[in-house]
Symmetry: C2
Subunit: 270 residues, 2 copies
């Protein structure tokens, strides 16, 4: 298959969290077009089996490939863990996920070789970040903190309220104790409360999936000579499997930009 430079980039996630990844992609690659799919009807991915998630990821990728995408981004930790390898084997275009870029960046960044992780229970339990960090530098001391209540509080409550502030203070305590100088935000919801986290972790460098993945995508397209010329402003469009109005409202808060019309689509109905 001959990949066209003028084709859009496809991005998907279980919902709105991946929009913090898309927003970094939009800033890093302003000339590119993007198609985003939020699998809101299937949200949350955390309680689905890896087999179901792989089927779902294949169905979504087929839909994105139907839009002629030149590259697919999995903007979700759970889907990356369950389906990245599988999609990379199955798809005729490059597929990239979160985790590997942040793990690499954290090792490049730390000075005292103490790295922390804030993530969901599933992501911490999988041990993926710890393994990936260890693969780059086996001498790094790695401290993980599972934050079961943080992503739901950011999504369903007031992200700038006292509840989230108190949660953050509690979750970072073990990282301060461990004297880490670099912390991976291992969940796409967390950059929404970037300011709170920066204040709760003074002197610590925060590594975000979105920023690192955007850099990786840009470099990868550049090496393949698939980047569009800089003389245009790219477009972006959205679809979701659940309620489009709800997606648009919640989404603008995560993207920090307007979403425009949101299409509704069931990926498994073809």
């Amino acid at each position: 298959m001959d990949i066209s430079r003028d084709a859009p980039i496809g991005v998907f996630d279980s919902g709105v969290g991946g929009l913090t990844v898309l927003d970094e992609l939009l800033v890093a690659l302003p000339a590119e077009d993007f198609v985003y799919f939020g699998d809101t009807a299937f949200f949350p991915y955390g309680d689905k089996s890896p087999e179901r998630l792989r089927e779902r990821a294949i169905a979504i990728s087929d839909w994105l490939l139907g839009h002629g995408v030149k590259l697919i981004v999995i903007a979700c930790n759970t889907a990356t863990a369950a389906a990245l390898d599988h999609l990379q084997r199955a798809c005729p275009v490059p597929v990239m996920g979160v985790m590997a870029p942040e793990a690499h960046a954290a090792v490049q960044t730390t000075r005292n070789r103490r790295v922390g992780l804030l993530a969901t229970v599933a992501t911490v339990d999988s041990g993926s970040y710890s393994r990936m960090v260890g693969a780059h530098d086996a001498g790094v001391e790695f401290t993980s903190v599972a934050c079961p209540e943080l992503a739901p509080a950011i999504q369903d409550g007031d992200p700038f309220g006292h509840e989230v502030a108190d949660l953050v203070r509690g979750y970072v305590a073990p990282l301060r104790e461990a004297d880490v100088d670099t912390v991976i935000l291992g969940c796409t919801h967390y950059p929404v409360v970037d300011k709170l986290l920066r204040r709760a972790l003074p002197g610590v460098t925060l590594i975000k999936s979105g920023e690192e993945l955007a850099r990786e995508v840009a470099e990868s397209l550049a090496r393949r000579e698939l980047l569009r010329g800089a003389d245009r402003e790219g477009e972006y469009s959205f679809a979701c499997s659940g309620d489009p109005a709800q997606f648009a409202t919640l989404g603008a808060r995560f993207l920090q930009m307007p979403l425009g019309d949101v299409l509704q689509h069931d990926p498994e109905e073809g």
Copy 2:
């Protein structure tokens, strides 16, 4: 007067805009205490005379000095233009304002010596930024764009909606035309739509008052040996002259952190 290292830092503004400055101060100086005053009953400052603004600034500074502050930050362009010199002469503690730090940073940052400015009509008309940039490098080509509708749209409307996105696109057009590589965000409201601005100005470095002023305050306190030890989490408190509930709600959006209780106070009633 002997200034105590353990004293809080005072910050004031005509309303909530200065909270984007406070939020950088809170991140840069996590061990310091802050007292913030939002002069919401007197908002907007843009239509008041310089004499009235000086009186008002003196009254607010007296109140902050009554709280024993070790340094006063004017987190507002209009108040800095009207009252900085005056307060610096009148106050027994250092007083710092916006504009000078950003102007210096812009000159340090530009590679092609083309610098742009986005600001209110009053700020552009005052010519302050242009003079300050010129004082650091007379060879810089300076392009100003007055954005009369942007701050009101961010404050009163949906900052992540289409109206703001369209406004931003229009206002940055002359800066893209002028091929600037560095743009000063000359109004404390603009960092709220940072993501939109970054996308609208690809490849351009954005200079924000809050970040530059926070760096200046930190350096200044460090040189004077007035920085607090890093072994504590500082506190912050708020007062305003208008409706405290409204201030708390709108303020959390600008600060991206919870505000807690807001005290109501009329600075000219003493």
